[in-house]
């Protein structure tokens, strides 16, 4: 029998009903009387000086109410923690990427706004552009930003142990170059905002933002307002995964500025084409990796050099470059490690965070190289991983990597063993060849951090649990559910802690005027940090009630139990009453008792130094293993992933149905990175900015899958929980690439693996054989 009443149960999401009926409102669904529509004008050049902007013809178009350009923002740029402050809402002096916004119009309808943008005359002086990071690093390359010599905006050089000694002691060493491709974030709902600037000096926005407090700080900064006059209201969000719907994006600032200028509310909704042309997307990376192993397959040393394409702005490449290198010392024991990471500016759209941020690239390279070494050594891929995997630390102890990443719970071995025991893995030798189809199965591990601790920002999460006089609960927190399912989990935590049912809890969307802060939905921090805050707030409310009950019955507070909506005395269970009766007694019979519990996640500030790579960027770490089976048509080169088996350690599955869905979604995004997703670029211009030509995984593409939940209870997480899915996302690309090798004998070191690449590689292999 489960020790919990609500935790660990397969419960429908609390917002599922409003979503299936169409009642759930997203940012684009809001309107205010007198509302105007806004539209942004993007640059037709990837790199150009803005010489002049003439808005006079546009201003005359009937229906146009306001036009703004970069000058209207007075030099404001978006702040990213304390590392970067460089993206302007509208380019003022020069544009650094194709379709970078340079002006915006507000008009009485969308069509007029769009027409007006076409009437704005911008004179550009085109500048030479650079589109590949290795080229951009050269002395002869055009300089994109004055402050970064050779366009290098981040460079980290870490050295742990003695890699040379490690390689000297290795039995086998491999050096390979890998490349990850240009991939979109892929949320279905385009960024949208409705903004209202109140002339008395206040801003209210309804914005599709998974980090609403981030926008709140940015708007206050941009418009020179005190924080209590900025109100960000968060509707339901149609997916985030990192990217433009996290922090402030040009449309957010433009909508507010246009509203200020026009004196009316302004709504801006990007088209999907704008998203796929101009919005931020995952960093592409070049990974030069050298791995040394001993004769028995144990890892001796890893040296990695990464050159990533930061795109047009510095933005959050510091975090990308930390994550590309920082977790390479997981999930295997590693005595020597060297990392040289560069983020290089180019005239491509800005690169950003996306599920599996950073780790995605280097884990793919490291897993495949490990497989290559295992093959040469004649060691089974499961065996080599089990040999090297970090063991789950005993309660009270921890494992520390050479770069001082502290792991208190690790389900890596259990995840690997579960996948190894699965039918998919056990049947891998039964490789049927059917005509031109060749099948293969591969396996890989993934890892990710939970609860990233941001330096330079408020990293806490806070919650308020308000108990209504009838015993039902309002939960208020700044934590954002962007679709990942945090709302149901936080309600479950509240219900469990208080001793009531899930349906007694109501959670509202974030509204910075009422909900206490939270840094945002990124870095897999919400379940962990908002969970802890919610647990603390619920415990606080519960204690207030327990004190009243104890006094009523003349017992000690420790003797009171609240479970399944019933309050009772542990030592004398006959003394009991329904939860709502206790609440009413507390509220009406004691002097003005209003039961409000507050709590925040009290975690130590970040102790991670990005410059040295030392310390913890996260509060905990999750581990995954995934097996994938593919079918390759040896004639056409087409590849299909037909089956996957996934096992991820999420600490404790607070809601197993939700966790499974997260694993499945994460795996699918990772598979997409190998087989479908690809931006085709021409000197900074996206040639396939529609879903017709940018291929995304469809229902007919997705593999049959089996998901298994591993629970290596974490001492720090709420009820032991950690993140659920980024480790799976990270494990997917190498699993698929490994499966492709099993089917064809070819290692693909460049993503995506397109049919064309497959055909070429098969021909080349055929010529060699």
């Amino acid at each position: 029998m489960s020790e919990f009443s609500v935790i660990g149960k397969r419960l429908p999401r609390v917002d599922a009903r409003v979503k299936v009926t169409g009642e759930a409102k997203y940012a684009g669904d809001f309107e205010l009387p007198g509302m105007l529509w806004g539209k942004l004008l993007g640059s037709p050049y990837a790199h150009a000086r803005i010489v002049n902007i003439d808005t006079s013809r546009a201003e005359k178009l009937p229906g146009v109410q306001a036009i703004i350009t970069g000058k209207d923002f007075g030099g404001y740029t978006l702040q990213y923690r304390f590392y970067a402050k460089d993206i302007p809402p509208l380019a003022a002096d020069k544009v650094r990427h194709y379709a970078e916004p340079v002006a915006a119009v507000a008009a009485t309808d969308e069509d007029i706004a769009e027409e007006a943008t076409e009437l704005i005359k911008v004179d550009y002086e085109e500048l030479p552009g650079v589109f590949e990071p290795e080229e951009a690093m050269q002395d002869r390359a055009p300089q994109i930003a004055g402050e970064f010599k050779n366009n290098i905006c981040v460079d980290y050089h870490w050295d742990f142990g003695d890699v040379q000694k490690g390689f000297d002691e290795s039995y086998l060493v491999r050096e390979d170059r890998f490349r990850t491709g240009r991939v979109t974030v892929g949320f279905l709902e385009p960024p949208a905002i409705m903004a209202n600037y109140d002339p008395s000096g206040a801003i209210t926005v309804w914005a599709a933002k998974a980090a609403p407090y981030s926008l709140y700080y940015s708007l206050a900064d941009c418009f020179g307002l005190p924080w209590n006059k900025v109100r960000v209201i968060q509707p339901f969000i149609g997916g985030c995964f990192g990217g433009a719907k996290n922090m402030g994006d040009p449309l957010d600032f433009c909508a507010v500025m246009l509203s200020k200028k026009a004196g009316r509310p302004v709504k801006i909704v990007y088209t999907q084409e704008e998203v796929l042309t101009a919005c931020s997307r995952r960093h592409p990376a070049i990974i030069d990796i050298k791995t040394g192993v001993k004769r028995d397959g144990s890892l001796s040393a890893i040296q990695i050099g990464v050159i990533s394409d930061a795109g047009a702005y510095h933005y959050l490449s510091v975090t990308a470059m930390y994550l590309m290198g920082g977790l390479t010392t997981l999930p295997y024991k590693l005595p020597h490690y060297k990392y040289d990471g560069y983020a290089v500016l180019t005239n491509n759209p800005t690169s950003t965070a996306m599920r599996g941020f950073g780790v995605n690239h280097t884990r793919y390279a490291a897993e495949i190289q490990l497989e290559m070494l295992a093959e040469e050594l004649g060691i089974d891929p499961v065996e080599i991983r089990l040999k090297n995997a970090i063991e789950n630390p005993r309660p009270g102890s921890s494992y520390e990597t050479i770069n001082k990443v502290v792991v208190k719970s690790c389900g890596a071995i259990e995840a690997i063993e579960k996948v190894a025991a699965s039918p998919l893995w056990k049947q891998r030798a039964e490789k049927e060849k059917e005509g031109s189809i060749s099948r293969g199965t591969g396996l890989a591990c993934g890892v990710f951090e939970t609860a990233q601790k941001p330096g330079g920002w408020h990293q806490s999460c806070a919650a308020i649990v308000r108990v209504c006089e009838d015993g039902t609960i309002n939960l208020l927190t700044g934590a954002s559910d962007a679709g990942q399912g945090s709302d149901v989990v936080l309600c479950q935590i509240t219900a469990e802690e208080l001793g009531v049912a899930l349906e007694d809890i109501d959670i509202k969307r974030v509204d910075t005027a009422y909900t206490p802060c939270d840094a945002g939905t990124w870095g897999s921090r919400v379940t962990f940090l908002a969970g802890l805050a919610t647990q603390a707030a619920a415990a606080d409310a519960k204690q207030q009630l327990v004190i009243v009950a104890a006094e009523k019955w003349g017992v000690k507070t420790e003797d009171i139990e609240i479970k399944d909506r019933k309050v009772s005395v542990k030592s004398d269970p006959k003394k009991s009453m329904p939860f709502f009766s206790l609440v009413r007694w507390a509220c009406y019979s004691t002097p003005g008792a209003v039961i409000i519990g507050t709590g925040y996640s009290g975690h130590e500030p970040a102790d991670c130094d990005f410059d040295t790579g030392v310390g913890n960027d996260g509060c905990a770490y999750s581990f995954a293993a995934q097996a994938a089976k593919v079918e390759v048509d040896m004639e056409t080169g087409q590849i299909r992933c037909t089956d996957t088996t996934i096992a991820q350690d999420c600490g404790r599955a607070l809601n197993p149905m939700s966790v499974e869905g997260q694993y499945q979604g994460g795996s699918t995004q990772g598979i997409g990175q190998v087989l479908y997703d690809e931006f085709i670029m021409d000197r900074g211009k996206t040639l396939n900015p529609t879903f017709l030509d940018y291929k995304l995984c469809r229902s007919t593409d997705v593999p049959d899958n089996k998901v298994m939940i591993v629970e290596a209870i974490d001492p720090g997480g709420p009820f032991g929980a950690k993140e659920a899915s980024e480790a799976t996302t990270v494990s997917a690309p190498p699993a698929v690439v490994s499966a492709i090798h099993d089917a064809t004998g070819i290692w693909f070191k460049e993503l995506p693996v397109t049919p064309e690449k497959m055909v070429k590689a098969l021909k080349s292999k055929g010529n060699k054989d």
Partner: protein, 152 residues
Amino acid sequence: MKQIKLTVNRKSYELSVQPWRTLLEIIREELRLNGTKEGCGIGECGACTVIMDGKTVNSCLVLAVEADGKEVTTIEGLADGDKLHTVQEAFVENGGLQCGFCTPGMIMSAKVLLDENSSPTEEEIRRAIAGNFCRCTGYTKIIESIKAAAQK
């Protein structure tokens, strides 16, 4: 302006529309039924799926004037008062949604499939929703939800 008469969710409407407006735009902006979403505007993602005279259509590709004389059902028209439609209920119970943005369109495609084929194979389910893109779920629990709805 063109005059059109259409039925949406069993209610009759007489509207004056500009000839270039789409069915999606008038559903959302004139009728204020915001459950139907715009994901891509070019008929590639299925977020705008509605039922017109019994068949699913991408409403962003249907001109409002084409809907003259037609019967349209949107997501708001499925539930019977407080009682959810079988497909809606199945999605809720089986975790067939996460962010919910693709959900209205997905449910409309599922409903029409089950209206035409009460016990579809998995292959038939996958094909029926192949025009509805989802980035969150990886489709598995959507397929399971539709199977569960078929069994009810």
